[in-house]
């Protein structure tokens, strides 16, 4: 309960759990669900974008010569690491932040 203090109560929330504005998933950071974090070795990355295609959370950002992980939304599923043809992405255990 304590961590939810300050959030709106039942009297002020929209009825039926409707969310009356679009795009609110951007405000809901799911990165803290992650148990393993993908780490990119830029030397091995050939910028093939296989990871970018496979990422179910669209948490891979394209850069000019490599890619970057959006840790706000990456849930750590490891698909990018499993699919990477050059083994440029390894999964490292998350330590308590």
């Amino acid at each position: 309960m304590s961590k939810d203090r300050g959030k709106p109560g039942w009297k002020s929330l929209p009825i039926g759990a409707s969310i009356p504005e679009p795009g609110t998933s951007l405000k809901y950071k799911t990165g803290d669900w992650r148990a393993f974090r993908p780490v990119v070795d830029e030397k091995k990355c050939v910028n093939c974008l296989t990871c970018w295609i496979f990422c179910p959370d669209t948490a891979i950002r394209r850069k000019e010569k490599t890619i970057e992980i959006n840790y706000d939304f990456c849930k750590g599923c490891g698909i990018c690491s499993a699919e990477c043809p050059t083994k440029a992405i390894t999964m490292a255990e998350e330590t308590r932040r």
């Binding site: 961590k3 959030k7 039942w10 009825i15 039926g16 759990a17 409707s18 504005e21 609110t24």
Partner: protein, 392 residues
Amino acid sequence: MKTKMGFTGDEALAYAAKQSTVDVVSAYPITPQTIMVELFSEYVANGEVQTNFVCVESEHSALSACVGASLTGARVLTATSSQGLALMHEIMYIAAGLRCPIIMGVANRALSAPINIHGDQSDMMGSRDCGWVQIYCENAQEAYDWTLQAFRIAEEPDVLLPVTVNLDGFIISHAMEGVEVLTDEEAGKYLPPSKVDCRLDPRKPGTVGALVLPDYYFEFKRQQEEAMKQVPQALRKAADEFSRMTGRKYGIIDDFETRDAEVIIVALGSTAGTVRSVVKELRKKGKKVGLLKLWLYRPFPMREVADTISKAKVVVVFDRALSPGAPYGAVCQDVISTTYTHKTKPVIMNVIYGLGGRDITPTEIASIYEEALAAAKTGAVKEQVKFVGVRE
């Protein structure tokens, strides 16, 4: 000049739906509900209504289609029975949780196994915690009248809950009676087109049915309970206006000869009619007996029930459904809970009857009254839960 039509309960409900300018109907046939939607589909085919009739392959899909339609602000109706209601169970929670004011006609029927198509109330009693308002009809006239009123209750802005209009399978659903109806114009005046907000509007994008985790879920359930609390007031408002228009008086409960009654029977649905005729006979013989019929079962009318039964010596609660392993039938448990905080408590007897469509006769009801009158003298009942009409 009042118009009277010959209708079965199912037909009466369909006719009321026709006059309610329903936007969307989605349902799947099941005995004894079938005729409700069968007749309505004729109205659609004949061009008598502008309703969008959505054919589906199951009750689960029927109610799902209704939920989607209702979120657009449309006026929506479905209907089912028994196994069909059971298949809808999952979506019933969703309709209530998303606050969709859907109306559902339920021709109450026993559940399998053993398979049986006849009337008892175990289908709806099994769905009583789904968050739907429950209204029980005594006859075809009430099925017609309550359907119109149900839309008014459901669409009340501080309610926005789905409502079931319950009729006992075959006894009401298939028995033809004279039903007094409104003209289309009068019905339209009583029930203007829906003003429920559209929550699925591409011009106003948003989300419905989002995942809600422990930090918010509880708040939405609390909102639902608050909506339930607003139902009695909405019902009274709908009933008062209906009574001004038709002269037929409705409310939360319907009591008969309860004021000085030593023994009161509490019943839902068609059985209340049989009980009433027995009360009339016994009153002629000077017996102080009465009837409390509940029109509204969910939300349960705590105060109305407590006020009505508090002066009686013995209260006999009729349950046309079995709650296996529970101390009493479902209705009886609710009635008992209303008396708990009262200083003077009537003795309570629970009668389980009529399962799988077995008739209960006036003679049986009269002997229940006699047994209860005897218990009123001694202050104790022989059997707390009595199975009436079952072979040993």
